[in-house]
């Protein structure tokens, strides 16, 4: 780099440029003065090479250079295009190939961590569960920090890790990464802009990081207002969204005037139109409709119907209540939940619920209200088309393009996590049945009502699902290990931990308590003291899932049936076949309902109801999903015969 020569200063002045001190400007050897026009320079300025052209996608090629801009203490990389800066670019390091056009202020106003380490009151508006958000905060790290408050040392150590990382971010200059584009935006103060990020038409961004990479570009769009925020790789925040003290996770989409305060949205979540306040939205949490409020709740693999609402206080000591919807839940239109409540995995909530209940032992349930009374129908939701479709769509809709993903996700609907719940549920339902007076319509469990007459049926359904699950895992194991004797394949996996373990869902990552406790003690002891190590250890847990799952199935099959798997394979396969066929029939039956009776209301507005319906919705027999289910059902027999032959 060199200082400007007298000739170059003169040429710049002729290009209507002004500097408080020309000697503070550094330039490359092949500096082109004609690429700088109508600029005001203050403080130390470094300008890179200004060669070539850029195209921002509108078909107009722009010559790299600096035009109509005011710059204060700015370093500019090679081949950037900066034009029409109405305010100032101040205290900034701009990397190579950056495009900035038609903006107001882009400034660093003092020392900042760009939103990293900012404590937000997630899950409990009143505080007590603060999470220090950073670009490295994963769903798992957030879960441990927010929900394990009884482990003071753990929380302190996790906060230290966040602080250490945030301190490494601390600067008094902003950074704009390689190939980033900032267009038509009004104000960016104390914002870190990652590589290849695109900011188009943002209104006001303050104290935040937009993490981004070439492979997972992050987008900020029109009218966005964001303060004290973190946006992780591959996410987008657009269309007038407002984000305050919030984290937007990898591959998440926020837009269409969604507003969020003190909330987190992990991998592939979606927030449109509606509102989130102190919401802990784990992976795949989706709220698309106006009038929907997610407040003080823990959600994951969740779908909010329009007008969904929850209450987190009862006008007493303030907003101290919180709610938990375990993975895979849905809330129907205008459903309401009174916090505190806990809803079991993969359940559907319909109607308004004014009772505080805990259904976490009863997964796959319908929760409905009947004349103000909350009623649960356990296991029913497993047989719906929706649950089957959900289980398949989540992995298929993973938008994260970055190789190293922050949130570690086990997608399985049937897993040791739901398996252990079903085993428990079978016992609970039997006990309730045995102790219930045959004259009563309902029995009560953890604050919710169950129809007595359905207890046996619900129990039977859980048994059916378990038979399918045990068989699925056995078949996976047998198919994976083509060679080898059955007795070799079907023994305890030495890579896995004991099958007697309890399983937990740490916000997308299913794991044994043993592995989690080991991780926690390593964090508490200081052995794990940065995000990199922590992520590595979480990845080890993630990679151990299959071995741990197998050991759980081996152990729990024995516990549940009283027989060792290895000596009971024919019976297990028989039960699997019967359960699978039955389940597919029930799901197909559910799918069929989408094509008959009342579903045709409103079709054929002036006649030809059936023809109109079929033109829009198609026919049951030719429906893609139905065909897939039928194909799978036919494969049950095939697989069964194949495996039986191997025995």
């Amino acid at each position: 780099m060199a200082k400007l020569s007298k000739e170059q200063i003169k040429a710049l002045q002729e290009n209507r440029c002004y500097a408080d001190d020309w000697s503070k400007i550094e330039i490359p050897d092949d500096f082109k003065t004609d690429r700088i026009q109508d600029c005001y320079f203050k403080g130390n300025i470094k300008i890179g090479k200004l060669n070539g052209k850029v195209d921002i996608g509108d078909g107009i090629e722009r010559a790299c250079g600096i035009y109509r801009a005011k710059l204060n203490n700015v370093n500019i990389g090679d081949n950037c295009y900066i034009a029409d800066v109405k305010g100032w670019i101040s205290n900034a390091d701009i990397d190579d190939n950056v495009v900035i056009e038609n903006v107001g202020d882009i400034k660093c106003t003092g020392e900042t961590t760009f939103g990293n380490g900012n404590p937000i009151e997630v899950l409990n508006e009143g505080g007590g569960r603060e999470l220090k958000i950073t670009t490295k905060t994963s769903a798992q790290i957030a879960y441990l920090t927010v929900l394990y408050r009884d482990k003071k040392n753990l929380v302190e150590k996790l906060n230290n890790i966040a602080d250490k990382f945030s301190a490494s971010f601390k600067k008094n200059r902003i950074y704009i990464g390689k190939e980033a584009k900032i267009l038509n935006s009004v104000m960016l103060n104390n914002v870190y802009v990652g590589e290849a990020a695109e900011i188009k038409g943002a209104q006001y961004l303050y104290e935040g990081t937009i993490d981004s990479s070439k492979e997972a570009k992050t987008e900020i769009g029109n009218g966005v207002v964001a303060e004290h925020f973190i946006v992780q790789k591959g996410a987008s925040v657009k269309e007038g969204a407002m984000i305050f003290s919030s984290l937007v996770g990898e591959g998440t989409k926020i837009g269409e005037q969604f507003s969020a305060k003190s909330s987190v949205f992990f991998a592939n979540s979606e927030g449109f139109h509606s509102e989130a306040c102190s919401a802990f939205c784990g992976p795949y949490s989706v709220s698309h409709h106006r009038s929907t409020l997610l407040i003080a709740g823990l959600f994951s693999f969740y779908n909010a119907g329009s007008g969904t609402n929850q209450s987190n206080h009862m006008y007493k000591l303030g907003p101290i209540h919180q709610g938990i919807l375990e993975r895979g839940c849905k809330t129907g239109s205008f459903s309401y939940l009174l916090w505190p409540s806990k809803v079991g995995a993969f359940s559907v909530v319909i109607g308004k619920h004014y009772a505080n209940f805990d259904t976490s032992d009863l997964p796959f349930s319908y929760i409905t209200d009947e004349d103000g009374k909350s009623i649960i129908t356990p296991a029913m939701n497993f047989f719906t088309v929706g649950t089957v479709r959900d289980g398949e769509k989540w992995p298929a809709r993973d938008r994260r393009k970055n190789k190293k993903k922050l949130d570690l996700i086990i997608f399985d609907v049937l897993s040791p996590f739901t398996g252990q719940k079903m085993i428990k549920a079978i016992k609970i339902l039997q006990e309730l049945y045995d102790s219930a007076d045959k004259g009563v319509e309902f029995v009560k469990y953890n604050g919710i009502n169950i129809k007595r007459v359905l207890l046996k049926t619900n129990k039977k359904y859980y048994q059916l699902i378990l038979s399918k699950y045990f068989g699925d895992v056995l078949i996976k194991r047998m198919q994976k290990s083509n060679a080898g004797k059955i007795s070799e394949i079907l023994k305890i996996d030495v890579q896995g931990v004991s099958g007697k373990n309890e399983w937990v869902d740490i916000c997308g990552l299913l794991c044994t308590k043993e592995r989690l406790n080991k991780l926690i003690s390593e964090i508490e002891s200081g052995k794990i003291d940065d995000f990199e190590n922590l992520q590595q250890e979480l990845e080890k847990i993630y990679n151990s899932y299959e071995a741990d799952e197998w050991n759980w199935v081996m152990e729990n099959y024995k516990e549940y049936t009283g027989k060792e798997i290895v000596s009971d394979i024919p019976a297990l396969l028989d039960a699997w076949k019967e359960a699978s066929v039955k389940l597919y029939d029930m799901v197909l039956n559910d799918a069929q309902k989408e094509f008959v009776g009342n579903t045709r209301i409103g079709f054929g507005i002036d006649g030809n109801q059936d023809a109109d319906f079929e033109a829009v919705r198609g026919k049951y027999d030719t429906n893609k999903f139905v065909k897939q289910l039928l194909e799978r059902k036919s494969k049950v027999e095939e697989t069964y015969n194949l495996l039986k032959g191997k025995l």
Partner: protein, 80 residues
Amino acid sequence: MSDTFERVKKVTAELLKVDESKITESSRFVEDLGAESVQSIELVATFEEEFGIEMDENEALAVKTVGDAVKFIDNILSKK
């Protein structure tokens, strides 16, 4: 009218909250009597309890009319 029909009618009327006199053998549980999916399961469970029988879920749910339900139940009872 068979005893089974009378008992099926009574159970159905109570559960679906419909007028017992309106229920005929040709009444369809879903289309005519408004049975929703959970109610259909509940009907099967209540019939099981009422008649002291076990019904195959899928076969039972395939039954569309009250008359067919009566036949289905009578068939199981005859095998007891």
